[in-house]
Symmetry: none
Subunit: 438 residues, 2 copies
């Protein structure tokens, strides 16, 4: 069973609104194993909506349209469907009454244009819209089922789950069930996209089901494993051995799956091992603290963050020696280490982590370019540090530096965890060295 | 001149990625008056990409394709274009050398699959990609110009501005220009969407060209004024009087236009008035500092941030009296005021701003619900404070609280600015009072 999605609205073409509806629908269709081969967006223009409906109805057995169901003059999706299928529009009296009631219950007067919402193509079925006033439409025509849903995401989702999904599941059951598509995303830090792909090139090449799709973000690579099978259990069984092979190859560079983030991985490990964390930031400007505090329950481990943006603050608040600042400068390995030790003592915490660097666009010197960042981690009397040259603009450099710092923290916490469990196994971790930017 | 956009990538159909590229392109095309009638998304499937290319090339004179230019096996957009136009693929030696150099400069080894990025359809022109390794492609074929751009948004945008836009403008100039659509977005803080719309209801009703579209975000309302005219100057002339009317009505609630953010507005005002800022955060967890430090040049005004997540840190680092914590608790007006005064002294800064509250999901008590946030601003011996009850989840409460704090800071800075300029005009500002959440 193939489906197509059509999103209607000039605002989508003008770029005033980013379309999230079609991504939602695509995800839900994949979950029940329905192929989506094309998505199209078209403006509030009758001819072109008709043209797109005819094309999609010629290629797919399910066509889901969002947008253009409202009361205003540019809401013409139902008319377009009537024309595309050679039907006339008819008023559904029951819908007219419902719409009137809804307005009355909100204490508002129904304007005549609202009555247009009670008209649908002849032979179609109205779909209830519990979250809004514009009803949806379902029409079976020449072996194709067309759904018209509102464009407001909240209304669209409610109606999709209440009306479209049950219909699709019933049809799938009648056809002996479709294949189910299930995805699981492994998240990788500390390795660039090419390096990551090189490590698993043979696995990537061999795979057809499940497939593996790498996606690169600044300082993070996602490996999405997607399996197709008769049911969810079978799909997960296809994914599991491939996931294991990748994990063996990449080791602790894999920091989590699906919704896990670097910060949630850090928080989880730190809470489990009862480690208190303090953060001192210069170039990342509070981003590391912000991300850690997005994790619910992080107050069990995160105690203090200091954004020491001036030299003065580095010296007075964190106790960075004036000699370090005057001799090596604020952007130096020595300063990063002093900041990490300083914030650990101030917390007081078991681990202090610190960043200092040049996020740009200004502030560079001949020996210290934009993107140069030092990161240090202090724990008890130990300290580790790294130097990076990150590409990108100011916000991207902040993001990459925060990712590198969180990854350093995560690898350190893994070592502690393994040490405590006494396995003796060493976490090699991929500590990014000098000049490597990932 | 009509254009079409095709986005390529199975991840777009599976809903794993929300497409922002086509919105960006749509906006830019509208700005120069090029019609975009259809946008289509297609998976990493050769036949279907070819099919979509042929369809779009039959309807439009400009076709812009994003995605599928990378080095991996499922990057097949260039091959599809070669097939759709009956051309063969050829290696561009100069591109091969460039790609090799790029890898060398990053200290990384080029893998053989990266060489595929140096192949393009015969007769096409490679487009430089300053932000990545995958070059783009421009091909003129049968009166249609096709652009292939990468799917990574940052690379796509750079290449669109560097290569596509200059081409389009030249062609438009040759054709005597089209109708231009121009938008200007007024940004409003401290007023909810309904309140904002109520204040300008008559203006909203009257307008046809320009149109005004309100868009609500947590703690922020955008009013997008869009005019259509023969050229940019005429479009801007239509927008100006409407903007003035709205500004008169909303006063200082309008904090900027277009790319201005609350944080950039604060930084601009603070730098201009030579005011040093320090920030103490509890529930916002570093978000205010992160946002302020996203503004280039902010180190001229922003000196210190403290994320005092534990009571201990509030007491020892910020000097919040133990009696305040034991008597009123950490989530109290008294604590917010002590934090603001504490961080101002520690900076040292001219203004200290502080947040404390319950971001949830845990931590609520019968008298202190999730979403309760106190914000205080200290300046010299003055202090102002507000209490809020914000709706939403943890991240949304952090966002709303940060917006409220930045808006409080902005209104305070406006008062200073006016005071210094000696106009005597009072900035009324919409200081959100008790229990008001916007």
């Amino acid at each position: 069973m193939n489906a197509e999605v059509i999103t209607v609205g000039t605002e989508l073409l003008l770029g005033h609104v980013v379309d999230t509806n079609s991504a939602y629908i695509g995800k839900r269709l994949a979950e029940v194993g329905i192929n989506l081969f094309f998505k199209s967006a078209v403006g509030d223009n009758l001819d072109r909506i008709v043209q797109q409906l005819r094309l999609s109805m010629s290629r797919a057995s399910i066509v889901i349209v969002t947008g253009g169901l409202g009361p205003t003059g540019d809401d013409i999706t139902k008319e377009a469907l009537a024309i595309a299928t050679g039907r006339e529009m008819v008023l559904v009296p029951r819908l007219a009454v419902e719409i009137e009631k809804r307005f009355a219950s909100m204490g508002r007067q129904m304007t005549p244009n609202n009555l247009r919402q009670a008209e649908i193509p002849k032979g179609a079925e109205p779909l209830p819209n519990p979250a809004g006033t514009a009803p949806g439409v379902m029409l079976e025509h020449g072996g194709v089922t067309v759904f018209l849903l509102p464009g407001v995401p909240r209304e669209m989702r409610t109606m999709f789950e209440d009306s479209v999904m049950p219909y699709l599941k019933q049809r799938l059951a009648g056809e002996g069930g479709g294949a189910v598509i299930k995805s699981r995303t492994l998240k990788v830090a500390g390795l660039g996209e090419s390096a990551c792909e090189a490590e698993i090139a043979d696995i990537l090449r061999e795979q057809t089901n499940p497939t593996i799709a790498p996606l690169a973000y600044p300082g993070e690579v996602l490996l999405r494993i997607t399996a197709r099978a008769l049911d969810e259990r079978a799909a997960l069984d296809l994914i599991a051995p491939v996931e294991e092979k990748i994990r063996e190859r990449l080791g602790p560079a894999v920091f989590g799956v699906d919704d896990e983030t670097l910060e949630s991985a850090c928080a989880r490990l730190a809470i489990k091992n009862r480690v208190r964390i303090a953060v001192a930031e210069s170039c990342t400007g509070g981003l590391i603290s912000h991300r850690l505090t997005n994790v619910p329950g992080v107050s069990e481990t995160y105690v203090l963050g200091v954004v020491s943006y001036s030299n003065d603050a580095k010296e007075r608040v964190l106790g960075v020696p004036g000699a370090v600042l005057s001799r090596y400068g604020a952007v130096s390995r020595e300063c990063a280490i002093a900041m990490a030790r300083g914030v650990m003592a101030l917390g007081p915490a078991d681990i202090g982590i610190a960043t200092t660097g040049i996020a740009g666009p200004s502030g560079a010197t001949p020996t210290k370019p934009v993107g140069l960042v030092y990161i240090a981690l202090a724990s008890g009397s130990s300290v580790v540090s790294s130097r990076f040259n990150f590409p990108g603009n100011r916000e991207e450099i902040k993001l990459r530096a925060a990712n590198a710092a969180l990854n350093m923290l995560r690898l350190w916490l893994l070592r502690i965890a393994f040490g405590r469990e006494g396995t003796g196994q060493e976490i090699k971790g991929r500590q990014a060295g000098d000049r490597e930017a990932v």
